[in-house]
């Protein structure tokens, strides 16, 4: 028995060491110079009018990747929703309400967090920021509101919330297909309103990403209720 256990540990260890050796050799063999596509990316970003290279890559050059990643995020939310057995479990747990410290803190923090989320979206085109960062802050604000009892956790099963979760993806697809009407390709924003379209997509994505994060939190929290260790 113990010998068997010994052997079952040895195999993964050997495999992991072997893998480490192979990857180590590949990394050591890397050339010390080489920028990949960084130089043409930077030149392209300046020409396209989006000075922040990261945003230019995410929403312009490789906007298709981002479109599918947004789909991944919504899919993950749907996946977790499909696994959840008892949508009302968390609301019962939180029904007791929050203590005075959390309540006061949430009242003070929530408006600021909303402001920060909006700011992150707006500055996304020129500096660090954008829908993912804004969505993360928005999601955190939502979770605080849930925990302190200001928002009702049962919301995730409502029809309207499904719209909030999906609106980012739906509008993104719509904006992606819009150029086809005027002879462009998928995601080829027309130059005259490219900035507005990108901002519109980013704003609604922020909303959906925030809602997704809150839903993921609620769903995962309800599944641990059975443990009873609080």
């Amino acid at each position: 028995m113990s010998e068997h256990r010994h052997r079952t540990r040895l195999l993964p260890l050997t495999a992991a060491m072997l893998m480490l050796g192979v990857i180590g050799r590949a990394i050591l063999a890397l050339p010390t110079t080489g920028d990949g596509l960084a130089v043409p990316m930077r030149a392209g970003a300046e020409a396209s009018g989006i000075p922040n290279v990261i945003t230019a890559v995410l929403l312009d050059f490789r906007g298709y990747d981002t479109l599918l990643e947004i789909a991944v995020l919504m899919l993950a939310t749907v996946a977790v929703l499909s696994l959840r057995e008892d949508p009302a479990a968390l609301s019962r747990r939180i029904a007791g309400g929050a203590g005075p410290v959390l309540g006061t803190l949430t009242r003070a923090l929530a408006p600021i967090m909303l402001l920060v989320a909006g700011h992150l979206v707006l500055v996304g085109s020129s500096g660090p920021g954008g829908a993912f960062q804004g969505g993360a802050v928005l999601g955190a604000a939502g979770i605080l509101l849930m925990l302190s009892g200001y928002a009702r956790p049962a919301w995730a099963s409502r029809r309207a919330v499904r719209w909030v979760l999906a609106v980012g993806l739906i509008v993104f697809i719509g904006v992606a297909l819009y150029p086809l009407l005027s002879g462009g390709t998928l995601l080829q924003y027309p130059p005259e309103n490219r900035k507005d379209l990108i901002l519109l997509v980013e704003a609604l994505l922020t909303l959906s990403i925030g809602a997704s994060l809150v839903s993921l939190f609620l769903a995962s929290a309800s599944s641990t209720e059975g443990g009873g260790r609080r």
């Binding site: 890397l30 906007g63 990747d65 919504m74 899919l75 996946a79 499909s82 999906a166 739906i170 390709t185």
Partner: protein, 492 residues
């Protein structure tokens, strides 16, 4: 004009359907899925016509061509896999309307089947069209998460365990693939498959990266010995999901291996990987068939049959190195095999699901006399069996004929021997199942849980696989319109 945008629409339409089915609610979601499926079938047929007419074409998303942007590539091979997905997908959608009855309010997850299924369809189409190795990773994530969740929809401890195991295998595959792409990009600085094919020079980092990518995709395609997750996942999923997984999802990652091995990576760049894949494929054929022979539960038998049938897909790699004639025959043969197995296996899994709901259990030995009470389903199993065994005139026969011709044209009879042995082994496990179904006996049938009116769906799929041999000239035309054969400069 619209035809130029077919690659974009084949991704955007199912993605829109997925998002809309989520907000439509569980009563209207099936209608959204049916409309979406019909639209995809039309687009897929248009893509085949377009590729046959004008050859392969590229589509620069966002107007940025590679290397800065992502190019979608539509060629004969991608058109073929997309039309296979469209046909099987339509069948699965129709069957699922009865399987996931929307009035069943207790099944919370069932209302989400349609959204998950359309996400999976989106990701398969995207995988067949992408020309960018990083974009493949994003597609693999979408396929993986949707497939794992669909497996767990049947509920119960067995499905959750199988789903968890599938999730770990899937994640390990995705992460290994991403690591491979990172190494490749660090070394070469390119992500577009065509540019990579033109610029790859011998380099240990790039070779390691590509080897990791191939290994990850082999895990996702469930080639022996990386098949450990497949039988449990495909066997315990809801039947429409089993059909889609066995028929389509393993083909998604396989398609990328096909493009990498025969289009991107120069001959000999990864040493003897092509022969090694062929040997593993041969082992899979024998091992999967023998396992299928000893299964006592019907869906486990069908799942192990998939392990065996996946093996054939990997014989193309050693065969493709045996000269121009063998190359063209092997690629055409493996495309015919992919389509015929896709159709037959979807039919077989859906029929098994209907048999299970008719009998109320999945024990093969207690299904005696099914032929009398469920003749349509028994006929479906028989027709699917004809294709699996490779009997004439089925698509399976056409595939094996082409592959054997390829082996003989290349002077390597031993691969032909593997093909013949695989046919015999498939006959063994299919006859075992059929013998029980056709035996005299008074099967006690419960009330069918799924509507019998959907039983013609698996029959149509299995019958399509049998008459597929008539479509071999069409598939040959598509093969010669594939970038793999065009780049190699050979015509079938």
């Amino acid at each position: 004009m619209l035809l130029d945008h077919l690659p974009a629409l084949l991704v955007a339409v199912p993605l829109t359907g997925a998002a809309l089915s989520f907000v439509a609610g569980h009563r209207r979601a099936p209608h959204v899925a049916l409309v979406t499926a019909a639209a995809i079938v039309a687009l897929a047929v248009a893509l085949v016509a377009r590729v046959l007419d004008a050859g392969p074409f590229r589509y620069a998303v966002g107007g940025w061509t590679a290397p800065l942007g992502i190019d979608l590539v539509a060629d004969g091979a991608s058109a073929l896999f997309i039309v296979l997905t469209a046909i099987v997908g339509m069948g699965v959608t129709l069957y699922a309307t009865a399987y996931f009855r929307t009035d069943d309010e207790t099944a919370y997850g069932h209302g989400l089947f349609w959204t998950l299924w359309l996400f999976m369809w989106t990701s398969l189409n995207a995988l067949f069209l992408t020309g960018d190795v990083f974009n493949v990773y994003v597609c693999l994530e979408l396929v993986g998460i949707s497939a794992v969740t669909l497996v767990t929809l049947s509920g119960g401890a067995e499905a959750l365990r199988a789903g968890a195991r599938y999730l770990y295998a899937s994640m390990l595959g995705a992460m290994t693939y991403l690591l491979g792409v990172a190494l490749l990009y660090a070394s070469v600085g390119q992500l577009d498959m065509t540019i990579l094919a033109d610029t790859l020079t011998p380099d240990v980092t790039a070779a390691t990266g590509l080897a990791l990518m191939i290994a990850a995709l082999v895990l996702k395609t469930a080639l022996v010995p990386a098949h450990f997750w497949l039988p449990a996942a495909h066997g315990s999923a809801p039947s429409p999901v089993s059909a889609a997984l066995s028929s389509l999802v393993v083909k998604g990652s396989y398609f990328v291996i096909l493009r990498l091995m025969l289009y991107v990576i120069p001959v000999g760049y990864l040493g003897g990987t092509d022969v090694a894949l062929g040997v593993l494929g041969s082992v899979a054929i024998v091992w999967g068939s023998v396992q299928a022979l000893f299964q006592t539960r019907i869906k486990q038998l069908v799942a192990y049959s998939t392990v065996a049938q996946v093996g054939y897909l990997f014989l193309v790699f050693p065969l493709a190195r045996l000269g121009a004639d063998a190359f063209a025959l092997a690629v055409t043969g493996v495309l015919v095999h992919a389509v015929s197995h896709g159709l037959a296996k979807a039919g077989l899994f859906l029929a098994s699901g209907s048999l299970m709901s008719r009998f109320g259990h999945d024990r093969i030995d207690d299904m005696r006399g099914a032929a009398r009470s469920a003749p349509v389903l028994t006929l479906t199993v028989a027709l699917a069996g004809i294709t699996m065994m490779g009997l004439p005139p089925s698509g399976g026969f056409g595939a094996k004929w082409l592959l054997v011709s390829s082996a003989l044209a290349g002077g390597a009879w031993w691969w032909a021997a593997v093909l013949v042995a695989g046919g015999l082994l498939a006959a063994a496990y299919m006859f075992r199942l059929l013998a029980v179904l056709l035996a005299d006996g008074d099967a006690v049938l419960g009330t069918p849980a799924s509507a019998p009116r959907t039983e013609w769906v698996p029959l149509a799929l299995a019958a399509a696989a049998v008459v597929l041999v008539a479509a071999v000239p069409l598939i040959t035309d598509l093969a010669s319109a594939s970038n793999i054969l065009i780049r190699a400069g050979v015509t079938p």
